[in-house]
């Protein structure tokens, strides 16, 4: 590890494994899908003037379908984001001149000292 820190454009797009995603992120989409599937059957039952929990097998089936759809779209979205990052990384690798490594500056280097003038 060098003592002078630099901003490497490639490293900005790499997963450095130093960030823990929140608990809900992993289950959010499957959860919403499950709840929506269950809720749709309840709504349909209400619309047909049945008790909302009548025919519980339908609730279970639609909850499973909803959960599966949530998982599927979650995977799709991750795939899309990974591909996008890979494309960007590849572009940077092909055009190193356009993306030079720059020295990382601190605010102390940028800002001038503040002299209050009254």
């Amino acid at each position: 590890m060098s003592s002078v820190k630099v901003n490497d454009p490639l490293e900005l797009l790499a997963n450095k494994g130093n960030r823990e995603p929140p608990f809900l992120t992993a289950i959010w989409n499957p959860l919403i899908g499950t709840v929506a599937g269950f809720g749709v059957v309840m709504f349909a039952n209400w619309g047909f003037r049945k008790p909302v929990f009548a025919g519980i097998q339908k609730h279970i089936a639609f909850a499973l379908i909803g959960g599966a759809a949530g998982t599927f779209f979650d995977g799709k979205r991750n795939e899309y984001a990974a591909k996008r990052d890979a494309v960007l990384r590849h572009y940077i690798e092909l055009h190193p001149d356009d993306f030079p490594k720059t020295d990382r500056k601190k605010y102390s280097d940028v800002l001038e000292s503040w002299v209050p003038v009254r």
Binding site: F48, K50, A54, G55, I56, Q57, K58
Partner: protein, 428 residues
């Protein structure tokens, strides 16, 4: 020119045909025309036994009949000479019920009793919704034939007649379902086709307004064309004086003391029946009229029915008689059957004619809200959510109205947790 061509073509085609060698051959060749089979309605006595169905009846009350089913289960295979719609018509207390029942028994047909607003007011669990009247605003209270006889000038008379028409229409669809799914004929007491007789008589005596009559006619025009007209109409004719005497003899309290059934009213009904209804329907259906002043025998009528030749109208495809029942392709039979067996809700939707200009047929929003809350007892459900902030209204709840028929635990429906069935044609 065509005629010349036809003659020469006939000669050309028949050139190879040889003359019959023996007398017997000549006779057998002619046989089919001499002993041509006739397809007339036949009674039990004439046939010498009960009706034998040509194919097992389709369970149309519980099983759906849609496009896919129609590919596997054809329709006309169940039809025989007795697959006919017969309507028994006549004035009040003419003896239609007894006659229609006897007729149905003799012809092995299904009898449909005359409709009554009980079909509307008594819910599928047998609870009489008229008991809720004290909790309803005046515009939503019940009004049936008893009320009409007592007070024909009530503002709900028009609604009463609309409902009668609707029930007759619904029953006629049920009858068509039956005949198309089982091949068994049906005998109906009055029909949606003759319902306008009552409406018109009521209008002439000022029981319903001109606007209500116009709405009725518009609804009728929108709906009646969807049905298949009857094959045979039997009119039991009684002079007005005898109708009055019959009403007194039958002595049903609300009829005998009725303000509505005056001589003029009965005479108007008689005139409308004969001058309008019978005239109109006779262009399509066979018509039998009997003087029923001193009653009569169903057997005699059956003999007359057996003599009617329904087949004769099929010779000319442009003949207006029995036109509604002239389907050339099997697909068309199946389509008609799908329409009545599977799409009855769609047909009943044709009653939704947007006419808001007749006040006695329009219910105010406030009254409608009260009716909905009391009749379907739904508001409790919403209030439960806000139970802490709103007081729950405690009114009497009609049993078996909170959910659709078959889903009411309070009147003993069970297995609701896994129940998904809606019911095809069971609930009327």
């Amino acid at each position: 020119m065509t005629a010349v061509f036809r003659v020469s073509l006939a000669r050309l085609v028949s050139r190879g045909a040889t003359a019959p060698a023996t007398l017997l051959q000549a006779q057998t060749a002619v046989l089919p025309t001499v002993f041509m089979q006739k397809c007339n309605i036949s009674g039990k006595t004439m046939r010498g036994g009960p009706r034998v169905p040509k194919a097992a009846p389709y369970p149309y009350k519980t099983k759906k009949y849609g496009l896919i089913n129609s590919l596997f289960d054809k329709t006309s295979k169940r039809f025989d000479e007795n697959s006919k719609v017969i309507c028994v018509e006549g004035p009040i207390a003419a003896g239609k019920t007894k006659f229609a029942q006897e007729l149905a028994a003799e012809l092995d047909m299904l009898y449909y009793p005359a409709v009554d607003l009980d079909l509307y007011y008594i819910n599928p669990y047998g609870f009489d919704m008229r008991k809720l009247d004290p909790e309803l605003p005046p515009s939503c209270r019940s009004y049936d034939i008893r009320d009409f006889c007592k007070n024909p000038n009530h503002e709900q008379a028009a609604l009463f007649q609309m409902r009668m028409y609707m029930l007759r229409y619904s029953q006629y669809i049920d009858a068509l379902q039956h005949i198309l799914s089982t091949g068994q004929g049906v005998v109906l007491e009055r029909s949606p086709y003759s319902d306008f007789v009552f409406m018109e008589a009521m209008f002439r005596h000022g029981y319903i307004s001109r606007g209500a009559r116009s709405v009725y006619n518009e609804v009728r025009e929108n709906t009646i064309g969807e049905l298949l007209k009857p094959h045979l109409v039997i009119y039991l004719d009684l002079p007005v004086e005898i109708v009055q005497r019959q009403i007194r003899t039958r002595n049903v309290e609300y009829e005998a003391k009725s303000k509505a059934f005056t001589v003029d009213y009965l005479r108007d009904m008689d005139m409308l029946y004969k001058q309008h209804y019978l005239k109109e329907i006779s262009s399509h259906a066979e018509l039998l009229i009997y003087d029923w002043s001193s009653g009569g025998e169903a057997e005699v009528v059956v003999e007359d029915i057996e003599r009617l030749d329904f087949q004769q109208h099929e010779v000319d495809p442009h003949n207006k008689k029995m036109l509604d029942w002239r389907f050339t392709l099997e697909d068309e039979w199946c389509e008609a059957r799908i329409k009545y067996c599977h799409q009855k809700p769609t047909l009943m939707n044709y009653f939704n004619v947007p006419r808001f200009d007749v006040p006695e047929l329009v219910r105010s929003a406030d009254d409608g809200k009260v009716w909905r809350d009391v009749w379907l007892n739904v508001s409790g459900e919403i209030f439960v959510i806000f139970a802490f902030s709103y007081p729950i209204e405690t009114f009497f709840q009609a049993p078996g109205m909170k959910y659709r028929p078959g889903y009411n635990a309070d009147v003993g429906d069970s297995g609701l947790l896994t129940k998904t069935k809606i019911g095809i044609n069971e609930a009327s």
